[in-house]
């Protein structure tokens, strides 16, 4: 039996996963986790609802959708322009076709520059390529500096939410963790805990030779690398160490700097419900002559890892995603099972779509089926990704990629039978009759699954078809 603790534990891409059902049940047994999820969802959802009900936000959402749709459509051209702009600013640009290539490239780059210590600001892309592990393999000391990321790094866990990585941990658990690190009891108070983390991290910033970040956006026309953060760690990570490497998934490129006026507030309002984060960092290359701050070298590593393969497919719209996390917060399945149960790096509706698309239909192929298709994700998405429709589309892709013979045969037979009114009515009566013997009926697979926690629906005296025929047709 898997426990939620085991599930939270850091895993490397390709590590075996327990089946989805075991993962879900491990989470359901963790009452503390379910409480934490509920608190998180309410806090984020309430804040977002206020932030997006402000005047002009609906129009901003439309503009954002158009910007991202056009940006994705011209992705290759935008990427080429971004590269030219970045080089013009003195940024060294690299391309990685796969996650493994990206991790190797960054580790080589660090090694060649004699890097011993690295600090990181929060980046899901680096989680995707398991970068910390690769750097540690080369003997490089890596420290996460986002508070949530630092917490889970210290706990040897993995993020359970794309913008609130430690959302699965309660404050008492964090107090315990920090007390163990401090070698003495720390008070269970927010300020004290943050002060402890800040004091620990400050030294890391000052001694690191490499700063690693992701990017929320990169502007093709100006080469601007944009980071939105609340803790200031992003700014320290990208300005104190002598080398800065930004790992940028290719779809993060915006055509125009002016697009930021829409995209930055749209992202933030949907992510944290703030009007603006405490810091919006815009990086234009390394430190220039006469400047006091900034790294000697800035590198951008563009990560493809299955993304451009989605261009021109029914899944292209997924590349619009700006990682705001709103779909996780509104998702009733995410709210029930939590992020770790999804198994991959990206949880929730966006993860259920992205994981099978990026990892191939063999990994995460069960995720699109594990959704109720309620559509809350599609409705909240700031860039109009029809997530629920993509989940259905993926179910079809999975059904043809790895055919389940019984299921396929069932639907083929069923759709033929129910295209015939006579067979439909006959099977309806038969199913109704079967419910008169619930103990026998429960042996049928569908009824057995339904019966897990639910009674079977009681049989009815007659179907509507039979009632109409008896009552209405006769009367006329």
């Amino acid at each position: 039996m898997t426990t939620s603790g085991e599930l939270a534990h850091h895993r490397h891409p390709g590590d075996p996963l327990p089946p989805l059902r075991d993962r879900v049940e491990a989470t359901l047994h963790n009452v503390e986790l379910r409480g934490a999820l509920r608190v998180m969802a309410t806090r984020f959802n309430d804040a977002r609802e206020v932030a997006i009900s402000a005047p002009g936000i609906a129009a901003m959402k439309e503009r954002g959708t158009a910007i991202r749709a056009a940006g994705v459509q011209d992705l290759r051209a935008n990427l080429a322009r971004a590269e030219v702009s970045l080089r013009g600013l003195g940024v060294q640009v690299h391309h990685a076709g796969t996650g493994a290539e990206a991790a190797e490239l960054i580790a080589d780059l660090a090694e060649a520059r004699g890097v011993r210590r690295a600090v990181k600001s929060k980046s899901m892309a680096t989680e995707e390529i398991d970068l910390n592990y690769h750097l540690e393999q080369r003997g490089i000391h890596v420290v996460e500096t986002d508070l949530g990321e630092w917490i889970i790094q210290k706990a040897s866990e993995r993020p359970s939410h794309i913008i609130a990585p430690a959302v699965h941990k309660t404050r008492p658990q964090i107090t315990q963790l920090f007390s163990d690190l401090a070698g003495g009891d720390l008070p269970d108070e927010r300020e004290e805990l943050c002060a402890f983390a800040q004091q620990q991290l400050r030294g890391e910033f000052l001694t690191a030779d490499l700063g690693i970040s992701g990017a929320n956006f990169v502007c093709a026309d100006t080469g601007t690398i944009v980071l939105v953060t609340n803790e200031g760690n992003g700014r320290l990570t990208t300005s104190l160490p002598r080398v800065h490497v930004a790992l940028v998934p290719v779809e993060k490129v915006l055509a125009h700097f002016a697009d930021l006026a829409t995209m930055v507030p749209l992202l933030i309002r949907h992510a944290t419900g703030q009007q603006l984060t405490s810091y919006v960092t815009m990086i234009h290359g390394p430190r220039r002559d006469g400047e006091l701050d900034g790294p000697d070298e800035v590198h951008v590593v563009f990560l493809d890892a299955g993304r451009t393969a989605l261009l021109g497919t029914p899944f292209e719209s997924m590349l619009r995603c700006i990682r705001c996390g709103a779909c996780l917060n509104v998702c009733p399945v995410y709210g029930t099972i939590g992020g770790h149960a999804y198994g991959g790096v990206y949880p929730g509706p966006m993860g259920a779509v992205l994981t099978p698309l990026l990892s191939g239909l063999d990994e995460g192929s069960e995720l699109p089926g594990a959704t109720s298709l309620c559509g809350a994700c599609s409705a909240v998405c700031p860039v109009g990704i029809p997530l629920a429709d993509l989940l259905v589309e993926l179910r079809a892709a999975v059904a043809s990629h790895a055919p389940r013979r019984t299921r396929r045969a069932f639907f083929a037979l069923w759709s033929r039978a129910w295209s015939s009114p006579v067979l439909y009515r006959w099977s309806a009566r038969a199913a109704n009759r079967a419910r008169r013997w619930p103990r026998l009926a429960r042996r049928l697979p569908v009824a057995r699954a339904w019966g897990e926690g639910r009674d079977l629906p009681a049989p009815v005296p007659e179907t509507f078809h039979d009632w109409w025929r008896r009552d209405r047709s006769a009367a006329r």
């Binding site: 879900v24 099972i337 959704t371 299921r407 759709s415 009114p421």
Partner: protein, 240 residues
């Protein structure tokens, strides 16, 4: 001339809650409609579509369109089945066939939507004094965009409607999801049922039999003293 309505009862109503079909007939007739029931009808095909078998769904969609092609209006007591017809049928077809499908899609309505938004008849002369917690089912709300019609029908009948906390959160039915993932689906029902219990209302209503059967059979399994009913059934009971 009275509006001609072709009733689509849906396979779930037909087999699990035929009373809801009879209630729909009564409501439509109370609104002055002439209701016909085309006995060739079967199922909208959504289970196949949502399971990733669009070709099988197309087979049933074609049958549905054949049955209802010449109807003036198709009305069903289900937001989800109508959403399948209106929003997704057209995506299954191309060319001239698509035009024919789109025509049927455009004249298909959920029951309360038809009564309120098409006929402008939320008040059917029914009197209901049961306090009702209304659960807006997902596809009715988000795919058809019907938010107020069921509440207006209940309001017009005098039923006190109480608002659920997190009302727009899914109840966990999700069609095939409910049998493929009972381990997720059932806790979602519990969350919804707990919200209902917290309102103090003894009755929870919705406009989709799938959600209702899921909630009712879970409530029964837990021994909760709750009545789970279709909006049409509640209002039909209040008709003279």
């Amino acid at each position: 001339m009275s509006p001609q309505v072709a009733l689509f009862v849906t396979c779930l109503v037909d087999q699990v809650s035929p009373e809801t079909g009879r209630s729909a007939v009564r409501l439509l007739e109370a609104a002055g409609c002439e209701v016909t029931f085309r006995t060739g009808q079967t199922c909208c095909g959504q289970p196949a579509f949502n399971s990733g078998y669009p070709a099988d769904a197309r087979r049933l969609a074609r049958h549905f369109v054949d049955v209802f092609a010449d109807a003036e209006a198709v009305v069903a007591p289900s937001g989800s089945c109508v959403a399948m017809v209106r929003c997704y049928y057209p995506t299954l077809f191309t060319g001239p066939e698509r035009t024919r499908v789109e025509a049927v899609a455009a004249k298909s309505y959920e029951l309360t939507e038809y009564l309120v938004d098409v006929l402008g008849r939320p008040d059917l002369g029914a009197h209901v004094d049961t306090t009702v917690a209304y659960h807006p089912s997902c596809h009715l709300l988000r795919e058809l965009g019907v938010r107020d019609a069921p509440r207006r029908v209940l309001d017009a009948a005098g039923a006190p409607v109480v608002e659920l906390v997190d009302a727009e959160r899914c109840c966990g039915f999700g069609g095939t999801f409910s049998v493929l993932h009972p381990e997720i689906s059932v806790p979602m029902a519990d969350e919804k049922l707990d919200r209902v219990v917290a309102t103090g209302a003894r009755t929870v209503a919705a406009c989709d039999t799938g959600c209702l059967v899921h909630l009712a059979t879970r409530a029964r399994h837990r021994g909760l003293d709750l009545t789970v009913r279709h909006v049409a059934d509640i209002v039909a009971d209040g008709l003279a």
